[in-house]
Amino acid sequence: MSKESSYGRKNLLISIVFAALIFFLSIKLDPYNQGQLAVALMMFIGILSIVLLTGASGQISLGQGALMAVGGFAAALSILNLGFSIWFAIIAAVLAALVAGLLLGIAAARLSGPYLAGTTLVIALAIPSLATRFDSVFAGDVGLNIDFGNPPGWLTSLMGEVGYEQWQLLATLPFAALALFFTANILSSRTGRSWRALRDHEIAASLAGVKISETKIFVFVISSGFAGLAGVLYGLRGIVGPSVYPISLSLMLLTGAVLGGIRSIIGALIGAILVVFLPDLIEWLMGFLSPSEQVANYLPAMISSLLLILTVVLNPGGIAAGLHHKKRRH
């Protein structure tokens, strides 16, 4: 017990330091990069959902984008139809995603490996298509407009002028820090150990008293909550619609998770920053070579896919595993 509460204090400290670092970084950045960093934090929350699901418990999902869509739509509908403030809408979104995760988990607990991957891939395509099917509710391809609104008065009186991109970043930051704290606590607790036991050896885990099906469903529920949170924040950038949560979003989250290190929280942060800023970096580098338009369009996808293959084949633990490895040698 005392050991776990000391972990909790350490995790709280790390989360506060994380929030402070991003906060000071946000002041130094220009509006474009503030917006990009906000997206990176949203991806960080989304990738944490994969760290919990795939990294910790060994279940794969190619449908995290669909759960993000559930969060986004729940928030948009509660803001536009019920007049919720964005903070209550975020809570509604997470609750909706938890319910969706429960349903998904009940179906998914029976599946593993390629079966689970294929099923979640179909889900990633089917859920957003519901938005066009019932377009009187979900506004179809046009999408529903929601946004972060204006920064509150106390913030502007405290910090002076706060631009819209900076407000996006500052509104996202507490949720990212909360997600970090929550994930770190789960992974270092008894719950996290039972998830890892499930991943490493199902039979041994069940002999040690881990309830297999219940635990798998529980992992899906928690992971979906994270995805829903990422989804509502992503939608609050301006629009919620099927084109905002395409299948490529799910694959981008998975790519980020694997590149950074699928079993590591730091890896999730590295991966999120990579997938968001890599296209900018490539574009900047391309500026010196002035390639044709088609090369410029497809090069980011090419490079991130190549990195994904190389990581899986050469260094499956991702960048974070490389960091830990070096640390251990000292």
Binding site: G113, S129, E202, Q294, M302, L306, G317
Partner: protein, 303 residues
Amino acid sequence: MDIFLSAIFSGTSRGAIYALAALGLVLVWRGAGVVNFAQMGQAMFSTYIASTLIAHNYSYWIAFIVALISGGALGALVDLAVMRPLGRKRSSSFLDSPAMRSTVPVIASLGILGVLQAAAGIIWAAEERGFPTPVNSLGLVIGGKSMPFTAFDLFVMGIVFLTLAATTYFFKGTGMGLAMRASALNPEVARLSGIRIGFVRTLSWTISGVASSLAGLLVTPSANLSPNTLDLILIIGFTAAVVGGLDSLLGSVIGGFALGLLISFVNVYDAPEDIFLAILIVLLTVLIIRPQGILGSKGVRRV
């Protein structure tokens, strides 16, 4: 009644193509124990090669043969460059649990899909192109009455049954087929019996590559060719393979036709937007009620 008949015929001819895609997935699953999510990306790539040849005034049949060869070569390349090195890492701490061993190749195949789609975009500018058929694709006229199916539909179905017969004979009737089944069932014992596992695996990737490039060649006349066109075929092919039982060749073909009919009926009597939902419902129903599929191997099977 006419609508019903034409739904049946279009469903059967589309189903034949889904059957080929499912067959390709089953071949790699049986031979190497991997569900290849890059499969239709490979097919897209080889179809672009054929399309380029046709644009340079080569005949359809030369382009057809070249596409099949390049499809097979691409399958072999995927195995040699990615899957075999990945298999060698099975002793690493990251891949030491069954859950991760079945998950990591899926991630790798998604990476391959991304590379192929980006490469096609860079090489062929991602322009949508049409693709010709080798035979007439207007309704056949028999006894003065226009039929709801075309010569091309008959051609597609002929190819599917030919492929099914050839692969079934290969698995059941030849020594190499036996070696493939053995190495998928128990790699260690197969290796000890003198089977060259690596070669056998690469061979099944190659055959699957040929089968899926066939699917690509036959489906593109009715859908324009672009780097992403065949993604839908992968989803349907996967569902068809699961419906049939992921390790049964005949089952996957039956699954393909069943899915073809289902999608055709959803298209005609409901709305095209519901296709994904229908696929999802079929997939979940099969996985929950009969996880081994229609013809999958019996016995306790954890999916």
